[in-house]
């Protein structure tokens, strides 16, 4: 077997690669990124108009057609109550995306502000914040979200709160790290010098320049939040039946695993996996892109 010693791309330095080859790589990366963005946009469209597209109400039962296989009438089949799984998957899109966006936005806002203040002022404030971050990071995110949801109680706002708390420390760390870098730049001193109050320098002048890593993280957290919310629902925590939500539907379908009605869990699960994959490739793609620009 011919084992090339140096990796094909990074091994030979980029300079020795032809411009054409590099453009080709860039196009490939762009194509993957665009594919992910397209997937996300189509989910957003479904979230917006899904209820119009759905042939049935999400909780409408068809007692004559329970556990029915996929047919033109019931495209994804029906569950044990005879509810149309296709309609329920469409309806659930709005709920799952809303949860993901709420989690990402709240974790981002809290994390960015706290991280920026902590990084800029340093000292005792920074010490306390970092120890709190350590405490939250002492748990795997899903375990923390699971315990919080279990203790807070099974409501959608509690699910959002629980998952947000689990991801806030990541945003604090990222923004703080960037703030440590930008606060030493000359324009930071200049902004203070012309008489801006310090909090204004941090939040208005420095924060916008410290957000790139946190911004990329938002895309990844969007995907993770959907996986976490659905995972919690699968465990019977947070969002509960009869809500049309992907994780709830997979959990209900899981009861049919021994008897083989695969459509009850396959389609809602696919809805989760595809959007999580899309957020993941967009997050990775953005990271590659922005990391290269900074070089």
């Amino acid at each position: 077997m011919d084992v090339p010693l140096a990796p094909r791309v990074a091994g030979r330095s980029a300079r020795t690669r032809s411009f054409g080859y590099r453009s080709l790589k860039a196009v490939g990366r762009w194509r993957l990124l665009s594919f992910g963005v397209l997937l996300i946009l189509s989910y957003v469209v479904v979230a917006a108009i899904g209820p119009e597209l759905a042939p049935y109400e999400p909780n409408a039962t068809h007692p004559q057609a329970t556990l029915h296989e996929p047919t033109p009438e019931f495209r994804f089949g029906t569950d044990k109550f005879g509810r149309d799984i296709f309609s329920r998957v469409l309806y659930a899109t709005r709920l799952d995306l809303s949860i993901a966006f709420s989690v990402a936005v709240s974790a981002f806002l809290v994390g960015a502000v706290v991280g920026a203040l902590s990084g800029y002022f340093g000292g005792i404030v920074d010490d306390v914040v970092m120890r709190l971050v350590d405490v939250l990071l002492a748990f795997p995110a899903f375990i923390l979200a699971m315990a919080l949801t279990g203790i807070l109680g099974d409501t959608i706002p509690n699910v959002i709160l629980a998952i947000s708390v689990a991801y806030v420390p990541y945003f604090i760390r990222l923004t703080r790290g960037e703030m440590l870098r930008v606060r030493t730049l000359q324009y930071a001193d200049a902004a203070v010098g012309v008489g801006n109050p310090r909090w204004r320098v941090v939040l208005v002048h420095l924060l916008p320049n410290s957000l790139t890593p946190a911004f990329i993280q938002v895309t990844l957290v969007l995907g993770w939040a959907i996986l976490d919310a659905a995972g919690l629902a699968f465990l019977g925590l947070g969002i509960t039946p009869p809500t049309a939500e992907w994780g709830v539907m997979v959990a209900e379908g899981a009861q049919r695993i021994i008897t083989g009605e695969w459509w009850t869990w396959l389609f809602p699960g696919l809805a989760i996996v595809i959007i999580a994959f899309a957020f993941s490739i967009v997050g990775d793609g953005l990271r590659d892109l922005l990391a290269r620009e900074e070089r």
Binding site: G150, G253, G269, V273
Partner: protein, 339 residues
């Protein structure tokens, strides 16, 4: 050495502070939050009298600082309290269920390590090729996977359709006796007792959940190995090795991979996070009687002492593991402890 000693003490000190913070945090969760544990324990139909009885029993009628004092005292003496459901000490119940989790998680970890490092090295050596693309797709799918759904899919394929795996119901077929308890790992204990049919049954039940868990866990292993290997393959000493005529495969395996392992070490903490979170879900799908299922049971019946015990156990292992990694890293790479 004083430098290393200072580094050591600082890291240990931080870990102790973190664990103290974790203890306070968990106390606040279970005692300050608006929900009343006694009411939850008594259930929605209970009358005020039963709730009061439970409140007294659980010490919830005491002022909060008294409750905290008692809690801290118990923790320091290694007592996690009793389960409200069974009346047994939580620590003992967790201990009884830990081997099942270790058997599953360790098997998954080994599979993930072998598969992940192999794929990561292949992707780095053939960077940019279709092999690399395939491996990266694999890692992306693994990292953004709905594990509960994947587990169902695998059960459907390997149990329902192909009948290669047993029904996803616990660690042994009903009717097969557990091997004599030594380690609590059924595969090991059955071999020690020379009960080969039990061993085969245990392996038969173990492989599918372990593979499912390993897929998700291998994703970060692949990413880290690939990145680390790429850096090392570009290093001067590899070029030198190549220039002086060391055989290619030997350079990749002996020189590059060995050096790439140092950054891979830091990944163990991340991998543990994936393992534990995934473990809860996989144990649920496969009815695997480990600590994940224990925690899930406890959460659904609001058995807060048991939940608290589980969460604390995870945090102690997690913080301890990260401490060991930090120390090992500092020991291997002087720049870190001097920095």
């Amino acid at each position: 050495m004083p430098h290393f000693l200072r580094y050591l003490l600082r890291r240990i000190g931080l870990a102790v502070i973190t664990l103290a913070g974790v203890a306070v945090f968990v106390f606040l969760l279970t005692h300050i939050l608006p929900s009343n544990p006694a009411a939850l324990r008594a259930g929605p139909l209970a009358d005020a009298e039963l709730i009061h009885k439970y409140e007294r029993e659980m010490g919830l009628d005491q002022p909060i600082y008294v409750q905290f004092g008692r809690y801290a005292q118990e923790l320091l003496s290694g007592n996690l309290g009793e389960s409200w459901k069974t009346g047994q000490p939580v620590l003992q119940e967790l201990g009884e269920r830990l081997p099942a989790t270790i058997e599953l998680a360790a098997t998954a970890f080994l599979i993930a390590l072998v598969v992940g490092v192999t794929l990561g090295v292949l992707a780095a050596v053939y960077a940019g090729s279709w092999i690399d693309q395939g491996v990266r797709l694999y890692a992306t799918l693994g990292a953004a996977q709905a594990l509960f759904w994947l587990a169902l899919l695998m059960v459907h394929v390997f149990y329902y359709t192909l009948d290669w795996a047993p029904a996803p119901l616990d660690r042994l077929t009903i009717g097969v006796a557990e091997p004599p308890l030594v380690t609590g790992l059924f595969t090991v204990d059955s071999l020690l007792a020379r009960q080969f049919s039990t061993f085969l049954d245990a392996v038969n039940h173990l492989w599918l959940p372990a593979v499912v868990l390993a897929f998700v866990v291998s994703a970060p292993v692949v990413k880290m190995t690939r990145g680390s290997m790429l850096d090392t393959l570009n290093a001067d000493f590899v070029r030198t090795a190549k220039a002086i005529g060391v055989p290619q495969r030997s350079v990749v395996v002996r020189d590059a991979l060995r050096n790439a392992f140092i950054p891979i070490l830091t990944m163990v903490g991340i991998v543990f996070g994936y393992l534990i979170a995934g473990n809860v879900v996989v144990e649920k799908v496969f009815s695997w009687a480990g600590i994940g299922q224990y925690a899930w049971n406890a959460l659904t019946i609001n058995d807060f002492n048991a939940v608290q015990g589980f969460v604390l156990l995870i945090a102690v292992i997690y913080v301890g593991l990260n401490l060991v990694i930090d120390l090992a890293y500092g020991f291997l790479d002087p720049r870190i402890r001097l920095g």
